[in-house]
């Protein structure tokens, strides 16, 4: 059952997961997940390590396809399209659904080439247009001012926090509507973390963001809705203030009050 009652009735839902099971070979990692994700809001997935939150996130852009012997059951639709239907163009899906990883992973190329990578593989050749996209994406990721004078320097020379914002810019350059973030700040110092969180706050006006985090304060700070995962199941999902002040489930309360996890 997909719970709709927690969202305002006129809210547009971008992602619908219903009865999703996920298997790594014989091991089941997700059990019967049904979840709605609203457009242009931030949804946080929280839960202890190994609870399946990252696995679920990686189902949304089919990154789990690369894992041998993995299997998805149930339905996930994005903009009313079943993304696991036969004949789905994974490349088109990933253009629509960008991803930022836990460990910042810029390519060992120049800052410019990093951001231009996506547009280039999707066929953009015009240097003027590429330069526009690169500038716009770096602006959006709030890193333009720091790198505009060294666009052709190697991205590996940036600090950890800058690298992560560059990775966000690189994801935005492809023009996605949805941004998946897998613990994007967990390897960063508090100041860089704050900048990423501010950035998420800016991006939510234009993008649907799903963020996995094990940092509950972060979930409370950046998200509108929070889904709590535990042992491969979705325990509950609700408006973030409600989850953190008045959860319906005992397990959620135990987790957010720090009794386990």
């Amino acid at each position: 059952m997909v719970e709709q009652s927690i969202y305002p009735t006129d809210m547009e839902m971008v992602i619908t997961a219903s009865q999703v099971d996920f298997f790594y070979g014989p091991t089941q990692a997700l059990f019967d997940i049904s979840l709605l994700i609203p457009a242009k809001h931030v949804t946080a997935l929280i839960g202890p390590s190994g609870c399946g939150k990252s696995t679920f996130l990686r189902c949304l852009n089919r990154m789990n396809d690369t894992i041998p012997h993995s299997r998805v059951e149930g339905t996930i639709t994005i903009n009313q399209k079943d993304i696991y239907a036969p004949g789905t163009d994974v490349v088109e899906l990933r253009k629509e659904v960008g991803m930022v990883f836990q460990k910042s992973n810029p390519f060992p190329k120049s800052i410019f080439d990093n951001v231009a990578y996506g547009p280039r593989i999707h066929g953009e050749k015009d240097p003027k247009r590429l330069a526009e996209i690169v500038e716009q994406s770096l602006q959006q990721a709030a890193i333009w001012d720091e790198v505009k004078d060294r666009l052709h320097a190697n991205a590996m020379g940036l600090s950890g926090g800058q690298q992560q914002r560059l990775c966000i810019a690189r994801a935005l350059a492809v023009g996605p509507k949805i941004l998946l973030m897998d613990e994007p700040a967990s390897a960063l110092d508090p100041k860089s973390t704050m900048r990423i969180e501010d950035l998420i706050g800016e991006l939510r006006t234009n993008y649907t963001i799903v963020i996995v985090t094990h940092n509950m304060q972060q979930a409370a700070r950046v998200s509108d809705y929070t889904a709590f995962f535990y042992e491969g199941g979705l325990i509950e999902c609700d408006a973030t203030p409600k989850i953190f002040t008045n959860p319906r489930q005992k397990q959620t309360e135990d987790y957010i009050t720090g009794r386990f996890g």
């Binding site: 690369t66 490349v91 991803m99 992973n105 390519f107 060992p108 492809v174």
Partner: protein
């Protein structure tokens, strides 16, 4: 670290001595070859044809022959080996068939070189009808170095961090686009370095070329890939063991050995230069 640990001190000393011993042996071999070979080295030795069955004159055609064989081996083995490695590292699933392929490759690396020679004779020289020729010799040497190239290339591919792959795919790259743009550029140096070291070793092999390409004496240079050539290792083998005046032409033997050594060292040096160049270009 404890400073009064006698066992530790002893192990360190023993390991150090073993290392020195190895370096000493290699150093002595090099010194011996250079000392005896240097007297034979001059422009005429490098640039002229042998006379009196190699007892006098130079080794020019053998240098050219080995050079051609190296080029031929690279041309055949590099694309095949790198292609195979890409398949094994990036596409092949972990199943019984692919485990068998890997096992075959590792086994191939342990096959004695004379067996490759016989294989080349049977398949390329006789069955394919190439006759003793540069083509047959290069193909045989290529078979011999393939395992080295595949193993080195596969390791090099696997060394590329998973983050680059994930990021590429997540940006909507197809698998081949990911490999072409974000894996090959970073692993190519490792592939080429490993391959050249393997080919350098093959360049010094006698057995595989003995039956497939090498001639003891040819009055002219080869004109096509279907011609036989002289080659340095085979020339050295004949001068040192089969020549009636073997005892009196030591300087010719050492001179040939020195040239062969320089050729292999040159290849290794090339490999190192390629590696440092790419290391500077792509750092992570």
């Amino acid at each position: 670290m404890k400073t009064n640990n006698t066992a530790d001190t002893f192990i360190l000393l023993a390991l150090r001595l073993i290392t020195y011993a190895i370096v000493l042996v290699i150093g002595y071999i090099l010194f011996d070859i250079i000392r005896h070979g240097a007297t034979a080295l001059n422009w005429q030795f490098i640039s002229s044809f042998p006379r009196r069955s190699g007892a006098a004159g130079g080794i020019f055609p053998a240098i050219v022959g080995t050079f051609y064989l190296v080029i031929g081996t690279i041309a055949v083995s590099l694309p095949l080996g790198i292609g195979g490695a890409i398949y094994l590292a990036e596409y092949a699933e972990q199943n019984r068939f692919n485990t068998l392929i890997r096992l075959a490759i590792v086994t191939l690396a342990g096959v004695p070189s004379i067996v490759f020679g016989l294989f080349g004779l049977g398949i390329f020289v006789l069955f394919c009808g190439f006759g003793p020729s540069i083509l047959a010799g290069s193909l045989t040497l290529a078979c011999m170095v393939l395992p080295t190239i595949i193993v080195a290339s596969e390791e090099s591919l696997r060394a590329v961090p998973k983050g680059f792959r994930d990021a590429s795919l997540a940006l909507g790259a197809t698998k081949w686009e990911m490999i072409r743009t974000n894996i090959l550029p970073y692993s190519l140096s490792g592939m080429i370095t490993g391959s050249i070291l393997g080919i350098g070793r093959a360049a010094g092999e006698t057995a595989p070329i003995l039956l497939t390409v090498a001639a003891f004496y040819l009055p002219r240079l080869p004109k096509s890939v279907f011609d036989q050539v002289m080659a340095l290792p085979y020339h050295l083998y004949i001068l040192a063991t089969q020549h009636p005046e073997a005892d009196r032409i030591r300087h010719m033997q050492y001179g040939t050995a020195l040239i062969l050594l320089l050729l292999v060292l040159g290849l290794s040096l090339g490999a190192i230069l390629i590696r440092t160049h790419f290391r500077k270009k792509y750092r992570w």
